[in-house]
């Protein structure tokens, strides 16, 4: 379909993807005395990244290889660290999602006045970090990107957040760092074990997959990795950083947090956690499913009580991500693809909800559900969008989330009917809290209101694409599933093969 990428597969396209935002942030920083220009730079750069990613999306799935694009350069040879990037269907979807949401983030942050240049610089640095996480295939490289995401997010929450922003940002940072430091230990330990066995000291994912581990080694190492991912996803009981971070973050921050950062946890679990320790991972699936199921209900119930709309949506994220993890735990193609699809859809849905809450807050000066109400009266379009995205969030068929959820449920039911039954019961609660939010915001008697105007052009520009994407996913998910089929199958097969190889010793 596309000649350029296919013709020059050796061009470092992926590096280009990573470097573009950095260049953008540099440009921004250099022009920091013209904040107006900055956001244009940011918009252009994020759009460029988005176009490039869509280009890849259109061009690469035809290649039929395990990795559509692959780059591998020696980096820190002394430690055997390589600069290895790879793009397969899974990363492709995540990259496109990232690029898309980042454009939205820039658009939604258009009115930011406070230290605007810094804001956009941070936004773009974060984009590099997130993209890097989705592309890295060397454990240390991955870890570096994993941590690089944190600081921009920390600043985003801490500088542009709301009242308890400092608490929230620190909590976010320390919580996630706690997990990732453990993972670092795990990475290094795996590295030595592999080196001792083979004499090759490397952090390459593909090589480390071959490491033979005793049960206890594998248990502890996998545990170290898993903690990091679980915190990031997050699963109950490691989730309490999320509501605080979401509530206090500025809109773009919430958008990125929900849309991207949480996904990195689930992504990494799939890419690294399961494939490095296939046997232990298999054993851990019931545990993961249990946590995830508890999370689905726990988060939904807690969400039901929230007064702050953002907090409510934050908890809904926890609940939805629980379903994603249930899909992982079911460990078959259908559930896996469903989980990945749900990750994308959830990113857009939840992101859009945060965006809408921000728009709503701009008009009402509050997010307190007790004070809101009757918004339809003066902002019908905004309310309609809120309703639309809420419906997607509660899993109305035909919209994005449903496609993922139902695949997860079908897949899960086949292997673990009970999990699926429990998971589907969560649907009622997700409807309960979502409708509660809708009821308190757009319906009911007129609540607090500062200015009464409906969406403007920029806001339409933000919301309409997101709505289209959700409808697309909901009605014709094949577009997004097609690149996944091969990848999901190979993830399962690779892991299975590794498990069998490990079992043969």
């Amino acid at each position: 379909m596309d000649p350029v990428i296919a013709t020059y597969p050796d061009f470092p396209w992926l590096t280009l993807l990573l470097v573009l935002p950095l260049v953008g942030s540099l440009l921004c920083w250099m022009h920091r005395h013209q904040p107006e220009d900055c956001r244009w730079y940011a918009l252009v750069v994020t759009l460029a990244v988005f176009i490039l990613s869509v280009w890849m999306f259109a061009a690469t799935p035809q290649s039929g290889q395990r990795w559509f694009l692959y780059e591998d350069v020696a980096w820190i040879e002394r430690f055997g660290i390589r600069y290895t990037l790879g793009l397969d269907g899974l990363s492709l979807l995540m990259v496109v999602l990232t690029a898309f949401l980042q454009v939205i983030a820039v658009l939604i942050s258009w009115p930011v006045k406070k230290h605007a240049p810094l804001f956009f610089v941070i936004l773009m640095v974060m984009e590099t970090g997130v993209l890097g996480v989705f592309l890295a295939l060397d454990l240390v490289l991955f870890y570096i990107f994993w941590e690089v995401m944190l600081i921009p997010m920390f600043l985003l929450i801490g500088i542009w957040g709301y009242k308890r922003r400092v608490y929230a940002s620190i909590k976010f940072f320390l919580y996630t760092l706690a997990g990732s430091l453990l993972m670092l230990i795990g990475i290094i330990a795996l590295y030595w074990l592999h080196g001792q066995q083979t004499g090759v000291y490397t952090f390459a994912l593909t090589a480390l997959q071959q490491t033979r581990l005793s049960d206890s080694e594998s248990f502890w190492l996998y545990g170290a990795f898993l903690i990091a991912f679980i915190i990031k996803v997050p699963l109950v009981p490691f989730h309490t950083w999320l509501p605080d971070a979401h509530t206090e973050a500025p809109t773009a921050g919430s958008l990125d947090l929900a849309g991207l950062l949480l996904k990195t946890g689930a992504y990494a679990m799939l890419r690294f956690g399961f494939s490095l320790f296939p046997e232990t991972a298999q054993k851990s699936l019931p545990l993961l499913a249990t946590l995830a199921l508890i999370g689905i209900f726990h988060a939904a119930w807690v969400a039901y009580l929230q007064k702050d709309a953002k907090r409510l949506i934050a908890y809904s994220s926890v609940s939805h991500l629980g379903l994603v993890i249930v899909g992982f735990a079911a460990w078959n193609v259908t559930a896996l693809e469903g989980s990945i699809l749900l990750m994308v859809a959830h990113g857009v849905t939840t992101g859009a909800l945060f965006v809408l809450i921000a728009m709503l807050e701009a008009r009402t000066t509050t997010r307190n559900l007790d004070e809101l109400g009757g918004l339809w009266h003066c902002a019908p379009a905004l309310s309609a969008f809120l309703l639309f995205f809420s419906l997607s969030s509660l899993g109305l068929p035909g919209l994005g989330n449903f496609a993922g959820e139902i695949l997860i449920l079908f897949g899960t039911f086949k292997s673990h009917p009970l999990w699926a039954v429990l998971a589907i019961c969560g649907v009622v609660f997700s409807a309960a809290y979502t409708l509660r939010m809708v009821r308190r915001t757009i319906w009911g008697p007129q609540g607090k209101l500062a200015v009464c105007h409906d969406l403007d052009v920029r806001e339409y520009l933000v919301l309409v694409p997101m709505a289209i994407v959700l409808l697309w996913i909901g009605l014709y998910p094949e577009t997004f599933l097609a690149p996944l089929h091969e990848t999901a199958a190979s993830i399962l097969n690779d892991t299975e093969a590794a498990r069998l190889a490990g079992g043969g010793r």
Binding site: W75, R78, S169, A178
Partner: protein
Amino acid sequence: MSLHELIALMPVLILALGSTVILMLGAWYPRWRILLGAGIAVALAAALWAGVSEPPVDEIAALYSAGPYARFFTVAWSLLAALVLLLSLRYGEERRFDGGVYCSLVLFAGAGMSLLSAASSLVGIFLGLEAYTLVLYILIAFDRESPSGAEAGLKYLVLGAIATGFMAFGIGLVYVGAGTFHLPEAFSAALVDGHLRAYALLGWVMLLVAIGFKISLVPFHLWTPDVYQGAPAPVGSLLATGSKGAVAAALVTLCLGMEPYIADIASLLWLLAAVTMLVGTVQALVQSNLKRMLAYSSVVHMGYLLIGVLAVGAEGGGAVVFYVVTYSFATLGSFAVIVSFSHAGGEPQDYGDIQGLGYRYAFRSAVLSVFLISLAGLPPTAGFIGKFGIFAAAIRADMLGLALIGILASLVSVYYYLRVIIIMYMANVEPNHALHPGCRPEYAVLFVCIAAVFFAGVLPGPLLDLIGTIVK
């Protein structure tokens, strides 16, 4: 002493003789800037010589090594002296420092550190250590206008003198046990049944007291915040980086020599490292003064270093050296930011002084944040690679427990580093009073440090390879 040895000694000689010349020059021609320029030139010349010329001998007078390890540190400390002098340019001028004395003292401190790092004998260690310690006594109290300077000088002096006593006692005991001062024979000759004999062990204990004082291991660390706080910031930077780095280098030499039987003292070092990391972290947590925070943070960092020292058999030596470099650049940079903000009236140290700094002094705040992030050990800065190396060595040496304590400490430590960033960027208040806009030499130092921090963080390969070749 042969001519070859003298040639091998040349960089130190350049520093020492240069410092005497500048001392005398200062008496007759007391132009601050010119003297400082001359000092920088001398330091750079020494660094250049050490870096370029291949020494004709391996060891000088059985006291100091002339190997690549020694050369590496000679270059490092000479450059450090140059940077510190550059950093002092405006600082000292505003405080009317005596140019000749100051400059020569800093240069001689550089020489002493180089000697200490190069030492291959206990005598060499003693002399090198004393050489720059003596100089630091004066430098800490160099600002005679500042009351806290005098206090800091006193504290460092008294404790330093006591530490000297311990050092000498330890060396004496080791000597009694082995009959030689030369390394590594001083330990290998003191073996009984493959273990260190009691005299040598006692000697180690005494040595560790002294070393613990110098690199601020708990419980010998209490002076650190006070002295950092009271000392002039450029001197503080020297104190926090070179003074500790040189001792760490010597410690690596000591331990590298006794690699086969380091198990004899491993449990002690383990305990010291653990206690140091934990106590330092917790104490840093409640500081509200930038320099004191940096002091406690340096305590914690020395704890990490000790992990590397313990794992000396598992490439820990290289990790320690790399860590020293990364830590030094970040710390030097942090002090440089303080220097650049300070004016004749004083230094901004208190968190109240740096509130909301981030937007008014964008570059320096950003740079300080990067240094702190590097100290916290987060990528993509040098600190991460440093910490990575240390933990990698620790895990390879099967010290998972210590690695976990280190992880815990660095997790908590992130809190106090971030706190500074929070205060700079997330407080909605303007700084209490106007801070100095800084001058070019200070910016130059900042640029050097930031470049180093990023370079060693993103492309650490060359430096790691270099260090790998010098530490065997």
